[in-house]
Amino acid sequence: MNCTEFQEVVHDLAREADLSRETRRAALAHADSCSRCDELFAQSQSLTAALRALATKDGAAEAAPRVERVLVDAFRQNRNRAARAPLPLRWGIAGVAALAALVLLSALGLRHRVISPPTHDGGAGSSAAVQRATSGTSLAPAAAAPDGADTEYADAFVSLPFTDEPAGDEIIVRQAVSRSALANFGLPVSEADANDTIVADFVVDEDGTPRAVRIVQ
């Protein structure tokens, strides 16, 4: 090893960094044979010691507890925000999905004649009608209308998003609702006709959870 090669490794040698055993041995042998390189090595060792002294002195230095408190607060806020954020997104996706389903079904001509449900005789002035649905048929159109009955058309039921598989008996509830109320079920509503009233059938689970909806015309 010559002086130039020694200068290239002298700091690694002084820092006790990764050097091959062969390189280390050659460098030390050169330092033994060259007084100026040996002094350079001693200087680098002193520098290493000085830097380690600085590192040791600052070894316990750390951020004030205030920083941890700020970060804990920020973490909690971030977590709460994350928990809230998906809701509008979910409704947005639900709306798009429901619209796509309605468009698809309309395009396929899946329109069915349906029987007028029996009028609700329990509550005067109520616009709701109730019909018992059998389990597993909630998404199918109602039976054909008897002769002479008033007829109307309805789209097939569209499952509402974010509902579990239906369990047990379900009922179909006919309800006159404003279009804006459909927004609560993730269906798209434009501002222009938000106050219009329409008739819709809802498949409602035993626990009152709406499972599917169709618009009656």
């Binding site: 010559n2 002086c3 130039t4 200068q7 290239e8 700091h11 690694d12 820092r15 960094a17 990764d18 100026r36 390189c37 002094e39 350079l40 001693a42 200087q43 680098s44 002193s46 520098l47 290493t48 010691a49 000085a50 830097l51 380690r52 002294a53 600085l54 590192a55 002195k57 600052d58 070894g59 316990a60 230095a61 750390e62 951020a63 004030a64 205030r66 920083v67 941890e68 700020v70 970060l71 804990v72 920020a74 973490f75 971030n78």
Partner: protein, 184 residues
């Protein structure tokens, strides 16, 4: 918070050695972990260790502060434009040799070392802070600094040569005599 408790000390000390200012070091530490809270999903363990990721953020934060408060750490003119990757005076000749071993018994020595580190140009200071003061390997430092291992190594060698010069310059005449040497 486990991550914070494990790494806040090293990050704080890195920022302290880079800025020389405890207040800035605290701000940088806070910002590093804020970034982790906000954008932690960007960390890819396949690309490097969490320490390299955190030190990388810290380095960028220090640079931002440095750009904003440039007057806090003035660059010495002699250091500007210093070449990288070569010994202080290569081509087979000896570098301008400074024989001034640092006397660690003196209380002010550590303060002088700190000043010398702070007076290094930024890209030399960060490798000295990571490799010599944080005892990072060249590979870890290269990941944190987003550069090649060879670049880290050559910058560190240049940084140490500059530090040796600065420490010799800052020694009192008495210390130089006691150390038994001046520039030869």
């Amino acid at each position: 918070m486990l991550l914070y408790r494990r790494w806040q000390g090293p990050i704080y000390r890195f920022a302290l050695h880079m800025s020389g200012n405890g207040s800035i070091a605290e701000d940088v530490t806070q910002e590093v972990f804020m970034s982790l809270i906000r954008e932690g999903s960007r960390f890819d363990p396949e690309l490097g260790s969490i320490s390299a990721y955190l030190f990388g953020i810290a380095r960028n934060q220090v640079r931002k502060r440095y750009d904003r408060d440039r007057h806090l750490v003035p660059l010495p003119e002699s250091a500007v434009g210093a070449s990288e990757g070569k010994p202080a005076n290569g081509n087979g000749t000896h570098p301008q040799l400074i024989v001034a071993p640092v006397d660690l018994s003196r209380g002010e020595t550590i303060a002088r070392v700190r000043e010398a580190v702070l007076s290094l140009p930024e890209h030399y200071r960060e490798v000295a802070a990571l490799c010599d003061l944080q005892e990072m390997s060249y590979e870890e430092a290269a990941l944190a600094l987003n550069c090649a291992v060879g670049t880290v190594r050559s910058r560190l060698h240049r940084a140490r040569a500059l530090l040796a010069e600065k420490l010799a310059e800052r020694q009192t005449p008495e210390a130089k005599l006691a150390a038994g040497g001046v520039k030869r």
